[in-house]
């Protein structure tokens, strides 16, 4: 479980995150949603400390990450897998080398075992014969899947996904969402997904945190999201015609 307490962050005069607290459970995807520019990705980066929060604390299974020393932080980070918006694959390495990278750097296991593990996760994300391809030869969806494979290859306890289906077609988006859900439940990870895609919200959103202009305005599940009573959330949810139609039907 990951817990955040009173996270605030400013860039210059602009306050991006305002006193955000919450808990993210393990075993099911936790979604952080909101319109573009509301600070979702900044919050995610604050949690893993790619961006240092101005105030507040982050706890990974009751371990205070914010106040840990450098060595302890590295230990916790080695339990983290992260999928970045653009995949963040290393351009000069093949798919196999990209996925193998965390094992080469962090795990002590025989070479053959590493190869087996790489093939296993590539198989898991549906990229059986892509080992020798370069990132430049991959489509957006494939890059995301390689990113997921790299994130899970080391059996992380915590999985972070930053806009996993941005720039993808609806069908591939659904595949990626399902993959994240299955991996989260199979590996029992604490997964946090940042998204503004309502399809993802309605598909895998069991625990949702809604951010609006840097503030947490609502928390709940996908079943409650359509009747939250929060105007800003309603504006966000019913901005798309499919959702408006769904609301019409439910009434």
């Amino acid at each position: 479980m990951i817990e955040i307490q009173n996270i605030s962050k400013s860039f210059g005069e602009k306050k991006i995150l305002k006193d955000i607290s919450g808990k993210f459970d393990k075993g099911c995807p936790n979604l952080i949603i909101g319109a573009s520019g509301t600070g979702k990705s900044v919050l995610l980066k604050c949690i893993v400390e790619l961006v240092k929060p101005d105030e507040g604390y982050v706890f990974f299974d009751n371990r205070n990450f914010t106040e840990s020393n450098r060595k302890d932080k590295i230990e916790i980070r080695r339990e983290i897998g992260m999928l970045f918006q653009g995949g963040a694959l290393f351009d000069s390495k093949t798919v196999e080398e990209n996925v193998r990278f965390p094992l080469d750097m962090l795990a002590k296991m025989p070479k053959d075992e590493k190869t087996d593990r790489v093939n296993l996760v590539l198989n898991r994300v549906g990229l059986k014969n892509a080992n020798k391809k370069m990132p430049s030869e991959l489509s957006g969806g494939m890059r995301k899947r390689v990113g997921i494979a790299r994130a899970i290859v080391n059996n992380p306890k915590y999985l972070f996904c930053d806009e996993p289906n941005s720039g993808l077609d609806p069908q591939t988006s659904i595949l990626i969402d399902e993959l994240i859900q299955v991996l989260t439940s199979d590996y029992d990870t604490t997964t946090i997904v940042v998204t503004h895609d309502m399809n993802s919200v309605m598909g895998i959103g069991d625990n949702i945190m809604f951010l609006y202009q840097g503030e947490k305005l609502w928390e709940g599940g996908k079943d409650d999201i359509t009747h939250s009573g929060v105007k800003e959330l309603d504006d966000f949810v019913f901005a798309n015609k499919v959702m408006i139609a769904m609301r019409g039907k439910s009434r």
Binding site: I80, F84, M105, L106
Partner: protein, 245 residues
């Protein structure tokens, strides 16, 4: 001042939470190929022409009949060893290798590849930058030696072809009153410049913020700052090591 402080902190991070020697060894070899082997052609070309032009221009300026012709190659030798090979070529080196290092790291930054390393608990500065600096410090002195030889060869060939001075006179001038310390001095400069170009360019690239436009800006800044640092260091080293008492 803030930028200089940030640079020294950056240098400090090179040596914390280090990766294994085995990991670095492979990366250093890769960087040596990128930096050294891929720069040889440019260095040979530029140095040969500089040597040739220096010979012609020195001959043009030494018109008095009482000055022996071998003085031409002696002047070319001193210019080449003391300044052209280590310093002028360092500016070329900053333009080729420095901008490439900065662009490479800047692109890694904006595409979140550096963040990916950090999230894995890897010290990205140590992993990415240290091999570049070590490779640069190893390879630049070798490039300077190649450059010096090519410049002197360029002068020799132009003397031979144009008849400015005979090959025997050229060789005599090259050897005449030769002070071995100038070679040591050139290599000290080469090591210093190799470090400065790699560390400054990496620093500029590593802290790139924004998009493709900013990567270009970082590369330009990397070259400009490296050149300024080279010139300052050149003066300081000359003052420290060549100043008569």
């Amino acid at each position: 001042m803030k930028e200089i402080g940030k640079y020294f902190i950056f240098i400090g991070y090179l040596f914390t939470n280090r990766e294994s020697f085995k990991t670095h060894y492979k990366l250093i070899i890769d960087e040596c190929v990128l930096i050294g082997v891929n720069s040889i052609f440019l260095f040979v070309l530029v140095s040969s022409f500089i040597g040739a032009v220096s010979t012609v221009q020195t001959a043009f300026n030494l018109v008095a009949p009482y000055i022996p012709k071998y003085v031409i190659s002696q002047v070319v030798r001193e210019m080449t060893v003391l300044e052209l090979a280590p310093t002028v070529m360092a500016i070329v080196y900053a333009g080729k290798v420095g901008s490439s290092m900065s662009g490479n790291l800047g692109t890694m930054r904006i595409t979140e590849q550096i963040d990916a390393l950090e999230v894995m608990g890897i010290n990205s500065i140590n992993y990415l930058v240290l091999p570049k600096i070590v490779a640069s410090v190893l390879m630049y002195p070798l490039l300077v030696i190649v450059s010096g030889v090519c410049a002197l060869m360029g002068g020799y060939l132009v003397g031979l072809i144009t008849g400015i001075l005979a090959p025997t006179e050229y060789i005599y001038g090259i050897r005449y009153l030769f002070n071995e310390f100038t070679i040591t001095f050139a290599l000290i400069k080469a090591i210093t410049f190799g470090f400065l170009v790699a560390s400054i360019s990496s620093f500029k690239g590593y802290y790139t913020q924004g998009g493709a436009l900013e990567v270009g800006i970082s590369s330009t800044k990397a070259v400009t700052t490296s050149v300024i640092a080279i010139l300052l260091a050149d003066y300081l080293l000359a003052q420290l090591l060549l100043s008569p008492a």
